[in-house]
Assembly symmetry: C2
Homo-oligomer: 523 residues x 2
């Protein structure tokens, strides 16, 4: 509780109003000295990355998401022009939608937007959409971000009454993401069933020449994804900016806020660089090793998807088996959290009393609300209590020897939200340099996809075998044998169990017996 | 991938359709033997708890949430009658609301419900509301679950056009939870500003004789909270059942599903008891110590708040400094997750490649959707892919030596959701017995609240000091001195910084200077 220490360590920038307080975390004297070799190295790597170095060696590509908010920094004039042109086209298209110059198949102006995308094509836009939405939004956004049939039904049922006024934006970098392909196909069928021409209601955001680009040539519009922007840092590309601009959010203010924080994070001295400061404190708190948790607690309802967004940004960037020298390190930093003070009534019991294997990232927002606040008790407003709970938790954590970092934003508005995203992106980039992992690839993600592809193939073999002998009863074991995969009996059983639950085969001996019968008709 | 092992270990119950598969987790031979002393002890404790033992010694109370779905098991006839009477009153009140027999102040039938509550008074109802809501719901629910002024404004703005048709349910066991008190006060002011009588739009759920009960005597209705039901296990009391019944959810089916799973979890043999089985495997995977993470991944959009619900249930129950013998143990089990396959595009990279300090709880739902599914690719439906991603991730985790448990539900309907909650509640109860912590108290939560109370008091002292000398400029340090708390300069600065951002004082030297000036007029 020392004012001297607090005010000496607090990072504050007058232009953005951003403050980062590392005083409630334990870290060694000298950590923030600008002349430490590893600090200088991390800073130099960031500068090289911004100049167009191949920062993702495993995919041999540049990493340029920072150029999205400062196109003049892109390494070639062509890239600068392409970024600017895309921003301009997003504005024009959104204006045409808002004005009714672009309309749906029946001539109705668009009022709703369904965004079909997953992972980086959903988490950023969803977070910002919720953070900055107001009652005066121009359009309402919905998200199809999975291949759950029932989940898709829910979204389409919600927009069904206004389907003729509904625009669908399909986002897939490669065009090969199966969940998004499925969401697109179901969307197309839903429009067609309503007698609407999907192409006149659809926009694609993808890489030029992708499967999606080719299949969607007659759609209303195309916006690019670039190979130098990773999915988890794509919110300031068309991926985020098109849906958000359609919603009515001030994309220019978002970009301005991000650019302003980026500028702060180019300073070489950690005490003056909020992202480098944050990354160094993270490193001290994790010991530079995997296994620690970061609990993100924004004290502001609007920001309640921040931790979900940051889960991908942090865990996919840092969760790596090997470092850049090929050593097995099992790095990672698990992220969770929803919002304060609500979460204090959920798991803060464990944070204060349980294992000391985490640190908290508390997010304070100074501005309470539009308009005045009433006194609700003890001469205090609801916002007075919200701050008191934040400060009280910060203090209780410290009293129990738990670490926290507090980030303060002037308001939950577009510049501050843009700046917060920039701060986290840069902190993750610096941290990855400090612990020597490649923040820009995700090699393990392919494993689950590959296994899923094998399971789809097995299911098709099983269905084909059933179709060859549609009347017979069978066991999972016999069917696995019939498709030449006796070692896959377990998976065949799991496939049949679900097919039976959906009326595509019949389960006879319910449960564990593994006995089934082909349903009548074609499978 | 051994069918023999899988089918031997799989728990399956034909009545409920519930399956629990522990085969993809590493645990020692003999773990499930029914004659292990600690297993028998945990089982006996659960039986004693159900018979009314004082299972929460730190608060000297019984723990009876299981009676809510089997009132005949309550230890006295009076309790049995009270539970049944409350269920009956909930049904009658909801029917009266739905029929229009109970109406708002202007005579309009109620169509919307705002639930004001936090922690256990919000997480369970929210999870189930989202899991079981349909387009045919009778009423729409909104939740005020924080003391964020802007968050409240968002909810009230959404219902404002139909405020005369909006019922508010205030839930607070003690009536003293500050966030809920604030939510209630702002609600009252909002109704009053619209010329509506809040009392004619409000229902209270609280302990008889609480502050809230006394202050709300003229409200439409009262429903009880009981001291033998903890907040995090209150979803099957009026806390959950009143809002959910108003929404149109089949509460009887929820209770039936929970009761059916409870019955399974009274079996002494772990292999036949899905909760004891689960708890024993958890214990093997955590080593019985704090520090492990449980990643909950339901492959079904409707269940995407399950992990938020389970965070409180698990972490508040298990996150304990001391065991029941007073030894310092720092127990806990961190919980996070949203839904699959979406989360595979977020953090599964870290699960597969990063630190091996977690296990996954995969939730499979067999029934895909209402109605038929189209083929979207590779002769497969969207649901085929959803299952393939689940099975693929389970397989990839195993290939990397990571552990998972898979729970399979026949459908995401009321009986299965009720059963899933029961399974988790009982598993947590058994696990707590096994590791010897009290699952039913939360002593550390008071720390943050106490600190917050001190901060509110300090803020009031600061404002009073300013009111005594309203024209003067001052520094945070001088003001801390003036209120006799020079050691609190840091907090005084933080308080003033926020007050300045909200126009209640003026910040002069922005940022770090700590200089402020009293705003004109009263504070």
């Amino acid at each position: 509780m020392s004012w001297e220490k607090y005010s000496r360590l607090l990072f504050y920038d007058e232009g953005t109003g951003l403050a980062v307080d590392p005083s409630q975390a334990a870290w060694p004297e000298g950590l923030l000295r600008p002349d430490r070799a590893e600090t200088r190295h991390a800073w130099q790597e960031m500068m090289n990355l911004e100049k167009g170095a191949i920062a993702n060696p495993s995919e041999q590509r540049m990493v340029g998401h920072y150029w999205l908010r400062a196109p003049e920094l892109a390494p070639t004039a062509a890239l600068t022009a392409e970024i600017r042109e895309t921003l301009s086209r997003i504005d024009k298209f959104a204006a045409a939608v808002h004005s009714g110059a672009v309309r749906g198949g029946r001539g109705a102006p668009f009022r709703r937007v369904v965004v079909v995308g997953i992972g980086g094509s959903s988490l950023g836009p969803r977070f910002v959409s919720r953070a900055l939405g107001t009652g005066a939004d121009k359009m309402r956004l919905y998200f199809v971000d999975n291949t759950d049939p029932d989940g898709m039904d829910r979204v389409w049922a919600a927009v069904k009454p206004e389907l003729a006024e509904t625009l669908t934006v399909v986002i897939s970098k490669s065009g090969g993401t199966v969940e998004t392909r499925n969401g697109m196909e179901e969307a197309r069928l839903f429009y067609e069933a309503a007698g609407l021409d999907f192409a006149r209601h659809a926009v694609r955001i993808t890489q030029r020449g992708s499967k999606l680009d080719a299949a969607a040539a007659d759609w209303l519009e195309f916006f690019p994804m670039w190979d130098w922007v990773g999915g988890r840092t794509s919110v300031f590309s068309a991926v985020g900016l098109l849906p958000l601009t359609l919603q009515g959010i001030d994309a220019a203010a978002l970009l301005r806020g991000a650019a302003a924080v980026d500028a702060l994070t180019r300073r070489p001295a950690p005490a003056e660089n909020p992202a480098l400061l944050t990354a160094l404190v993270w490193q001290a708190l994790t010991g530079g090793r995997g296994g620690t948790q970061m609990v993100i607690l924004p004290y502001k309802d609007r920001l309640d998807l921040l931790a979900q967004y940051a889960q991908q940004l942090v865990m996919e960037s840092l969760g790596k088996e090997k470092d850049r020298d090929g050593r097995v390190v099992h790095q990672g930093l698990a992220v969770f959290g929803n919002k304060g003070s609500s979460d204090q009534h959920s798991y803060v019991q464990q944070l204060l009393a349980g294992p000391d294997n985490f640190f908290a990232l508390l997010i304070e927002v100074l501005r309470d609300r539009e308009g005045e606040s009433p006194v609700v008790g003890e001469n205090s407003t609801s916002g007075d209590y919200l701050q008191a709970f934040l400060l009280g938790t910060r203090r209780a954590l410290r009293a129990r020897g738990r670490n926290s970092i507090t980030v303060t934003l002037p308001a939950a508005d577009a510049p501050s939200v843009g700046g917060l995203i920039a701060l986290l992106e840069r902190a993750v980039g610096y941290y990855a340099s400090l612990v020597n992992v490649n923040a820009y690839d995700q090699p393990a993600v392919e494993m689950g996809k590959k296994s899923a592809g094998e399971i789809i193939a097995l299911k098709n073999d099983v269905l084909a075998a059933l179709n060859r002998q549609p009347e017979r009863s069978f066991t999972a074991a016999a069917l696995a044998e019939a498709v030449g995969r006796p070692e896959e009996t377990e998976t065949v059983f799991q496939l049949l169990r679900r097919l039976a639950a959906n009326g595509r085969v019949e389960g006879i001996g319910r449960g564990l017996s593994g006995e089934f019968r082909a349903a009548g008709g074609s499978l």
